[in-house]
């Protein structure tokens, strides 16, 4: 039950994009069509779901004072997190290139850029600051990824729908995408305030 709560909370209530505004660059850049957004969303779910528990293991058993090395190395946290994320992204990239070259081509530079997607690093840092255990960190990672996935496919569908609208010239492209994101944030506020643990 606790794990489901964490999943729902990180997916809807504390949505990484719409509540914390993390991972905006790929969210805005790759959301022009639903198909590529779907692919990138899945990649982010995967990377978040894998890196979160690995980073948990690293912080608990390697970096903390009670860990294997026996000294407090938490100042290395950021570097190690990035390294783990980068290697996971490399893995995803190879898999996608092998199995879906068309998606690989349409994602372009934004696939390797997941490495520096702040949603993923931010997720790991939240995980540390919230002091989750292993299972909880898996739920948190998958939930956060799912929330990001939902947000990007929703905005992609909206952007496909308004492709031929007569939007005022200065707002076309990124401008309207920012406005859409803000209004989506308003809509997602609907679930803010529900405390799954209190029920």
């Amino acid at each position: 039950m606790d794990l489901i709560n964490i999943f729902i909370k990180s997916a809807f209530i504390e949505n990484l994009v719409l509540t914390y505004f993390l991972g905006m660059c790929s969210y805005l850049a790759v959301s022009k069509t639903v198909k590529t957004a779907f692919g990138l969303g899945l990649a982010v779910i995967f990377v978040l779901g894998i890196t979160m528990p690995i980073n948990w293991l690293i912080t608990t058993y390697l970096l903390s004072e009670g860990g294997l090395l026996g000294m407090d190395l938490t100042f290395l946290r950021l570097i190690l997190f990035i390294a783990v994320i980068a290697s996971m992204v490399q893995l995803v990239e190879m898999v996608i290139e092998k199995f879906s070259p068309s998606l690989y081509n349409s994602l372009g530079i934004f696939l390797p850029l997941i490495t520096v997607n702040c949603a993923i690093l931010g997720g790991s840092l939240f995980m540390v600051s919230k002091e989750y255990n292993f299972a909880e960190s898996v739920a948190f990672g998958l939930g956060g990824g799912f929330g990001w996935f939902l947000a990007i496919i929703a905005i992609a569908a909206i952007r496909e729908k308004i492709k031929y609208s007569n939007i005022p010239a200065p707002l076309r492209g990124l401008g309207i995408a920012f406005i859409i994101t803000g209004l989506m944030g308003l809509a997602f506020l609907s679930l803010l305030g529900i405390d799954p643990a209190a029920l």
């Binding site: 909206i158 308004i162 007569n166 005022p168 859409i180 209004l183 809509a187 609907s190 305030g193 529900i194």
Partner: protein, 414 residues
């Protein structure tokens, strides 16, 4: 009448000026479309976008009449005078008008000013989109909302919600609900809690005083001429009155707490505090029937929304953890603005899904999530506004996948 039309045509301002835009807006509203059948046996009705919207406005009229009267009724119930629904008829009616008309006028002045400005800027005719939004916005606002807040929220909704997306028919989120959600998050104390729903008193707790101004003095003068009862400036809110809506009571103490204050028929007919136009269920249902029979409102969305809300309430009944969850599932429909949201908000053809299968999913999820927000979310007393906005966000996505599955099916058949 033809002479009048000639006169109107004679005063047409020069094309390309702002005055022409305004002129054109009113001209098309009043005199077009004048296309009728040309020969042959084909029947051509002149229903265009504008006529469709006027139908919705007509469907809302009963809510307007009842809402206006109910503002006055709630005011006098709080003061402990004229407690029968029809007692003090003229006082309640004129009090309600004094509250509703400013709200109505400000909504339209602000909304139409922006609309006209953009029509002038873009160099085409006035779009009719504000007709329905302008009729809906006053109905979903609390009667005592300060007018400047109303003006800002309408400007936000029309500007950011509609014109930024390219005008009428291009918006992703429901304009009226955007206006309300803006008030809700920017000025929460004016639109939630016990104090918001009874107009014209300094406070809804006992001892609060009635607020009367020049308008009421003017009315008093007229009433005295006819020897009728007048507004009493010395009136005070009676003991035991709280101003709490059924939803607040249900959240605190379940269905029993609600029925101690409001009877079932009172809630059904709508003599309860609430947003201006959403309290009377039968009148809203009449409007909904009119919309369905004209083919404007989608019955699929309405039916699936009822179904979704019923399913979620049943599940909560089984869960049975807080007082609100114990409210029998069918009584969830007695409280709050479910029917108004169902009839006029969720069925908005622009922001809802456009595929038939999509409409079932869309309505069901609104009902489902709306009850979740209403019952489980302590931060918000009512959920339909936010549930509909949330599903507006996902409507294009639902449509996208349904279209995709249809395409795939045909590809397989080919």
């Amino acid at each position: 009448m033809s002479k009048l039309l000639e006169f109107v045509k004679r005063i047409e301002p020069k094309k390309g000026t702002f005055a022409h835009t305004v002129y054109d807006g009113f001209f098309t509203l009043l005199y077009t479309p004048d296309e009728v059948t040309h020969g042959g046996t084909h029947i051509k009705d002149g229903v265009d976008l504008k006529r469709t919207m006027v139908m919705v406005v007509i469907a809302l009229q009963l809510c307007y009449v009842f809402g206006t009267y109910n503002i006055g009724h709630q005011h006098f119930v709080a003061l402990g005078a004229y407690e029968g629904f029809l007692d003090g008829f003229h006082l309640k009616l004129f009090f309600g008008l004094g509250k509703l008309l400013p709200i109505f006028i400000v909504t339209h002045v602000v909304g139409l000013a922006i609309e006209f400005y953009y029509a002038y800027k873009k160099g085409h005719g006035i779009e009719e989109g504000f007709l329905v939004s302008g009729a809906l916005i006053p109905l979903i606002m609390p009667p005592d909302l300060p007018l400047w807040i109303l003006a800002i929220s309408v400007a936000f909704a029309v500007w950011i919600g509609k014109e930024a997306f390219g005008g009428t028919g291009m918006n992703i989120w429901n304009i009226a609900l955007l206006a309300r959600v803006f008030v809700f998050f920017a000025y929460p104390t004016t639109i939630s809690g016990d104090q918001a729903w009874v107009a014209g008193v300094t406070s809804t707790t006992p001892g609060g005083e009635a607020i009367y101004g020049w308008y009421h003095n003017l009315c008093n003068g007229i009433f005295e001429m006819f020897g009728a009862a007048t507004f009493e400036a010395s009136a005070k809110v009676v003991d035991g009155f709280t101003g709490a809506t059924p939803l607040i009571l249900a959240y605190q103490g379940g269905w029993d707490a609600v029925t101690q204050v409001y009877s079932e028929s009172q809630m059904w007919w709508g003599a309860i505090p609430g947003s201006i136009g959403e309290t009377s269920k039968p009148l809203i249902l009449l409007g909904a029937l009119l919309l369905i029979s004209l083919g404007i409102g989608s019955w699929r969305i309405m039916v699936s929304m009822i179904f979704g809300a019923a399913v979620m309430s049943l599940l909560l009944n089984l869960w049975d953890a807080t007082p609100f969850m114990t409210v029998p599932w069918y009584y969830q429909f007695w409280m709050g603005s479910f029917w108004f949201a169902m009839a006029f908000m969720a069925t908005d053809p622009v922001t809802a899904t456009s595929t038939n299968r999509g409409k079932w999913i869309y309505g069901f999820l609104i009902g489902f999530i709306g009850i979740i927000i209403r019952v489980l979310n302590p931060a918000y007393p009512e959920g339909w506004m936010l549930a509909i906005l949330l599903l507006n966000t996902f409507a294009p996505l639902i449509d996208h996948y349904i279209l995709q599955s249809n395409i795939n099916k045909r590809l397989k058949r080919a």
